[in-house]
């Protein structure tokens, strides 16, 4: 019988993939995609739980998450555009003016 546990495990895997993606990719766009993966992972969790608990709050929250994710995507892409304008690159780690 497939329980919440399976879903949670899956979402955890997705989460980690997303996290690793954020860390290893140089291309800002792909990094953004990885972020989306992480949000999806969360959503899987929420849905699984809401189903298990027979409670809709989870789903509602998931909707918010999706929306927010969309908004973040928009801003992120905007940032990419400026980055490209200023430095003519989409390589995230080349934004390293500051540090230390």
């Amino acid at each position: 019988m497939i329980g919440a546990t399976h879903y949670v495990a899956l979402s955890l895997v997705l989460m980690c993939i997303g996290l690793v993606g954020v860390m290893v990719r140089r291309n800002f766009i792909t990094v953004l995609m990885s972020l989306e993966l992480m949000f999806n992972a969360v959503n899987i969790n929420l849905i699984a739980f809401s189903f298990r608990l027979g409670d809709l709050a989870g789903q509602v929250l998931a909707i918010f998450v999706i929306t927010v994710a969309a908004a973040e995507a928009a801003i992120g892409l905007g940032l990419i555009i400026t980055l490209v304008r200023l430095k003519d690159t989409v390589a995230l780690e080349e934004a390293d003016e500051m540090g230390g």
Binding site: G18, F39, R52, D55, G58, T82, M98
Partner: protein, 487 residues
């Protein structure tokens, strides 16, 4: 759901609307009319303030409104007023700065207003859902604000870093929320609190959820090890924004932090206290020590604000009534002294990020004694030297920690606050002990700007006032904190 129910929600509505209007006004005005927009923005903030005062305050005890999404209590009021003040200061301080750098004011002001709305929700959210969206609203606005000087590489870079890390961390936060939801079946803080008293908090998944939420919050308050975004975001952001985000979002984050951990997750304290203890100690040490060798004032203040976050966390670790109101007190004090300090950075900063290096302050006492004196006051306050407000803030935090019995933590804290004096005084040394005419020194010119100066003056007055006569503020903080009903 009747219309009357929305009355307490009025402030948020007004603010959002005002933000929208400013945005629209801003489009035709383009780069001009910053001042007018600022006045409009601040006016709307004031109106909101009045509304908060009229409808925001609970008639009798905390009240849940609008489907238990928001709670109306003194705690929220305290923070809301703080946010409003912060917003106003940020807008007024920015006006001259934006003009100097040739950026339009419309988006800026509206973003500040929207961010304020988000923080309102964070401060008064009664459900994980509302808290989360509030958080995101605030965060997104701030991302944009940080990147607002889109032609400055640093600005953009700061925004990028802040954004990427912020998004990741909010995912973590959400993950935590989902776990909590999964194990308790509700998003409403009140219910969470109640069920936590019944459900054994030993449930690892639940506790893990709390811890992940805690991580998310720690990111927002820039606590080690989630502080990494801070220095770059602060340094990169336009200075008024830096001032704003170093104060308001941080305060909002702490407000949410307290809502969650003094309110909903209170009975889980024994599980996550250790995390906070470590984070707090690490933050204080890291922030202060790393700040010692910073030559860029904005960056130094960034580290210093990390460190201050650490002090505030002590209040959470202590987890007692004193801690609760001490945090409020500290945040309030910190808001004004930090704003003041950044105010001078703003006044000294001209295009090309001149005026950010410590050397730029050389001999300020000679050329502008008033300014130097003001800066001195803020440096002392940040270092926690009486009779400034900074000391009063620290006093209560430390007091709370001692009451909690966390002597070691307190000792770390006091030692570190002594250390912090060193880097704050590096600026003082430049201002007073150097003449500014040594070879190789080209001190930045001090660009007069009435509005900013008035704001700074207000900050000075408040900083000194609280330092000398803190009783009333302490009173408010206590009433506000009591709304949380910690033990």
């Amino acid at each position: 759901m009747t219309l009357e129910q929305f009355v307490p929600f009025l402030p948020e509505i007004v603010l959002a609307t005002a933000g929208f209007i400013v945005l629209l006004l801003g489009i035709p005005l383009g780069r001009g009319g910053v001042r007018q927009l600022s006045i409009f923005g601040v006016a709307s903030l004031m109106v909101t303030g009045v509304l908060v005062w009229l409808f925001g305050r609970p008639a009798d005890g905390p009240a849940l409104i609008l489907g238990d999404m928001l709670v109306i209590d003194n705690f929220a009021v305290f923070f809301k007023l703080l946010f409003l003040a912060a917003g106003a200061v940020a807008i007024f301080m920015a006006a001259g700065f934006l003009e100097r750098f040739g950026y339009g004011g419309g988006e800026y002001v509206s973003l500040i207003l929207f961010a304020t709305v988000g923080m309102f929700v964070m401060a008064s959210g009664a459900s994980l859902a509302s808290l989360y969206v509030g958080l995101e609203l605030m965060a997104l606005s701030v991302y944009v604000l940080v990147g607002y000087f889109k032609l400055e590489i640093k600005s953009n870079e700061g925004a990028v870093k802040y954004f990427v890390l912020g998004a990741a961390s909010s995912a973590i936060l959400l993950y935590g929320i989902s776990l909590v939801y999964g194990s308790l079946g509700t998003l409403d803080l009140q219910q969470i609190r109640d069920s936590l008293t019944s459900v054994p908090t030993s449930n690892p998944m639940l506790v893990l959820g709390m811890v992940l939420v805690c991580f998310g919050m720690l990111f927002k308050v820039a606590a080690v090890p989630f502080h990494v975004w801070t220095p770059d975001a602060y340094e990169g952001a336009p200075t008024p924004v830096t001032a704003f985000i170093s104060v308001a979002p941080k305060a909002a984050a702490f407000a949410m932090f307290m809502r969650l951990f003094f309110g909903a997750f209170a009975s889980g304290i024994d599980h996550w206290r250790v995390v906070l203890w470590v984070a707090s100690a690490a933050t204080m040490i890291y922030g202060n020590v790393a700040a010692l060798t910073q030559d860029n004032v904005k960056r130094m203040l960034a580290y210093s604000s990390i460190a201050h976050g650490g002090y505030v966390l002590m209040g959470l670790v202590a987890f007692n009534q004193t801690g609760a109101w001490a945090i409020l007190m500290y945040i309030l004090v910190y808001a004004f002294m930090n704003f003041g300090a950044f105010g001078f950075v703003i006044l000294l900063e001209s295009k090309g990020y001149a005026g950010e290096v410590i050397g730029d302050y050389a001999g300020l006492a000679r050329r502008h004694p008033g300014a130097a004196l003001g800066m001195l006051v803020f440096m002392l306050a940040l270092a926690g030297i009486p009779p400034t407000a900074g000391f009063m803030g620290k006093l209560y935090i430390f007091s709370a920690a001692i009451e909690g019995g966390y002597v070691l933590l307190t000792v770390i804290a006091v030692i570190m606050s002594a250390v912090s004096l060193y880097y704050y005084f590096r600026i003082v040394v430049q201002m007073y002990l150097y003449e500014g005419d040594e070879e190789g020194a080209e001190p930045a010119e001090y660009l007069r700007d009435r509005w900013a100066e008035v704001m700074i003056a207000i900050c000075i007055v408040i900083t000194m006032l609280i330092g000398v006569w803190p009783a009333p503020v302490v009173g408010w903080a206590k009433t506000a904190a009591s709304a949380l009903g910690v033990m």
